[in-house]
């Protein structure tokens, strides 16, 4: 079994703020991440796919196809954007790395078969690092 992992990056701003909570509660919960004008990160995203070896190419995943998919669905819409304002979904859901991870995984899963129509490779998981010290991992099976 082969697992192929590709690393990507994007830079974006966000503000952690829940519309379910009061100003005071948001401030208490999120601290400086709740500062009103937001702040930014250099996000690192790892996308892992698994599959058997293709006998002709000696590869398990065509990384050019994977790159096109990730660039189109994740990097292009997220890079140098304000996530709260410019990425659908984060107007009402706080753009924590947990929620960003779910969103990235959902976008890749939704478009996977169009790019990889065969049985393999399968999307296995994604990891997102907000900073080098905070890393979040989501299995493709954890979401619809």
């Amino acid at each position: 079994m082969f697992r192929v992992t590709r690393r990507y990056g994007f830079a974006a701003s966000h503000r952690l703020h829940s519309i379910e909570l009061s100003e005071d509660e948001n401030r208490r919960l999120y601290g400086k991440c709740n500062n009103p004008y937001g702040h930014g990160h250099n996000y690192v995203v790892e996308v892992s796919a698994r599959g058997p070896l293709d006998a002709v190419t000696g590869r398990a995943v065509d990384t050019a196809l994977l790159d096109d998919l990730v660039r189109r669905e994740v990097i292009a819409p997220f890079d140098h954007r304000n996530l709260n304002v410019e990425v659908a979904g984060f107007a009402s859901v706080p753009p924590t790395s947990e929620n960003l991870g779910y969103e990235i995984c959902r976008r890749l899963k939704r478009n996977w078969k169009e790019v990889f129509p065969g049985e393999w490779p399968k999307l296995e998981k994604i990891r997102i690092g907000e900073t080098p010290r905070n890393i979040f991992e989501i299995g493709a099976d954890e979401i619809e």
């Binding site: 697992r3 192929v4 992992t5 690393r7 599959g51 070896l53 190419t57 000696g58 590869r59």
Partner: protein, 141 residues
């Protein structure tokens, strides 16, 4: 418990399948098919799974692991043109996947019957692309 040790080697390669046309190779492998080859600083992480020996407190003596990795990986691979100098890449495309599998095959017998069993081989071709190989397991495992 899983323990991991890292080694590095630098090598050149070209990704082409001789049974395919130039255009087809270019389409499949892109710049990696450029005929005179190119190189990478490969990083290999080898993971062993096992319980620490009750006397030594070690899964495997790291000095010994270091020597095995030097002999089985660095010695044959470092500063070589993989297609020309390192079998099986005279007949297999030296993709990151095939390199990970070849390293697994070289290492696995070295740990047969030991407390630490080979668990996984991770090969970084660049910091942005790596492959994990866990042996001849079905993909659903």
């Amino acid at each position: 418990m899983v323990i991991t040790r890292k080694v590095e080697f630098s090598a050149s390669h070209v990704c082409r399948n001789p049974e395919l046309s130039d255009a087809e190779n270019q389409r499949l492998f892109g710049m990696a098919a450029n005929p005179h080859g190119h190189g990478h600083n490969y990083v290999v992480e080898v993971s062993l799974r096992g319980d620490p020996d009750p006397v030594t407190g070690m899964v495997l003596d790291l000095k010994e692991l270091k020597e095995i990795l030097r002999r089985e990986i660095v010695e044959p691979y470092d500063h070589r043109f993989l297609n020309y100098e390192v079998p099986p890449f005279d007949r297999e495309v030296p993709t990151t996947e095939n390199i990970a599998r070849d390293i697994w095959r070289r290492l696995e017998p070295r740990f047969a019957g030991r407390t630490g069993q080979l668990h996984g081989v991770r090969v970084y071709e660049t910091p942005d692309l790596y492959v994990d190989y866990f042996g001849e397991l079905p993909c659903s495992a």
